[in-house]
Symmetry: C2
Subunit: 158 residues, 2 copies
C-alpha cells in the first residue's frame, strides 16, 4: 500500500523536507555538492557503486513534474543533461539512466545513474546497489573533477 494521506502530507511538506534542508550544503549525509544553477543543485552521491552517480535536485520544493512551468521543465532537464555529459566525460560509462522517482523523498530530483562495463544490463535498475561508501576525501576529489567537467560542458550545446 502507498503512504497514507497523512504520511504523504508529511513527506511533501516543505517545512520538514530533508532536501530543502540540505540540497545546497557542500557536504551532507548522502552526497557532496558539484555545482548549483538558478534551477538546481547537482550533487555526487556518497554511494558510488555506480561510479559517477549524481543527483540533480530542483531548488524549488515541487513534488510533481506536472507542476513545472515550461521554463522550469527545460532548465531542470538541461541541468540533468549537463550533469550526464560531465559524468560521461569523467567516468566514461556505457550508458546513463535518468530516473525521477522520489517515493521516500518526493522533492523533485533526478538520479543520473551510470551503467558501466561491469554492470548487467538485464538486471532491474536499483539505485540502492551498494559498495563501500566513498571516503569523504575521495568524494571531494571526485566532486572537484566533476566540477571541472561540468564547467567545460555548455548546457546549451547541441
Amino acid at each position: 500500500m502507498w503512504w497514507s494521506e497523512n504520511e504523504w502530507a508529511a513527506l511533501t511538506d516543505p517545512l520538514t523536507c530533508g532536501m530543502c534542508a540540505d540540497a545546497h550544503l557542500d557536504e551532507n549525509e548522502h552526497s557532496t555538492l558539484v555545482a548549483s544553477t538558478a534551477t538546481t543543485h547537482v550533487r555526487i552521491a556518497r554511494n558510488q557503486a555506480h561510479r559517477g552517480y549524481c543527483i540533480v535536485i530542483l531548488r524549488e520544493h515541487v513534488t510533481d513534474v506536472g507542476e513545472l512551468s515550461p521554463e522550469q521543465l527545460s532548465a531542470f532537464w538541461a541541468d540533468a543533461q549537463r550533469a550526464g555529459r560531465a559524468i560521461q566525460a569523467v567516468f566514461d560509462p556505457r550508458k546513463i539512466d535518468y530516473l525521477v522517482m522520489g517515493h521516500r523523498m518526493p522533492h523533485l530530483h533526478c538520479h543520473v545513474f551510470p551503467q558501466h562495463s561491469s554492470d548487467d544490463p538485464k538486471r532491474n535498475v536499483d539505485i540502492s546497489d551498494r559498495s563501500d561508501d566513498h571516503s569523504p576525501l575521495a568524494l571531494r576529489e571526485d566532486a572537484r573533477t566533476l566540477r571541472h567537467s561540468w564547467d567545460e560542458q555548455s548546457s546549451s550545446a547541441g
Copy 2:
C-alpha cells in the same frame, strides 16, 4: 557484464531498431498509440500492472540524452510532462515516475510509470511488474480515453 561492443552496436543500430520499426504503429506487440507530436510518439503499454503506464518515444533514433539539442530536449520532456498530466487526469495515481533506461532497447524513450494506492512506495521500481495483459479491446478504450485527456492538456501550460 554489460553488452559486448558488437551486441551494443547491434542494439543501437537504427537499421535494426525495434522502436524505429514500430513506435508509430496504431498497435504493436507491446503497446497502443495514444498520440504523436513532431518530437515523440506516446503509447500506452499493454502491461497495465501500473494503470496508465505509458511510454514516450523520441521519433529520432538517438541513444544518449546527451546528444539532444536544447530544442529536442525541451520538446521531449514537454511531451513526457503532458503524458503525465493526461495520466494523472484519467487514472489519478498517487505519484508518477519518469524513467529513462533502455538497456535492452536503447532508442531514447521515457517510461511514464504511475504509482497507485495499492503500490508499495518502498519497493524498488520495476517496470516488469506484471498483471494479465490488457485485452486489445480494453487497451484501445484506455488509449481513446487518454487521447481525449492528452488533447485537453496544453503542453505549454504552466
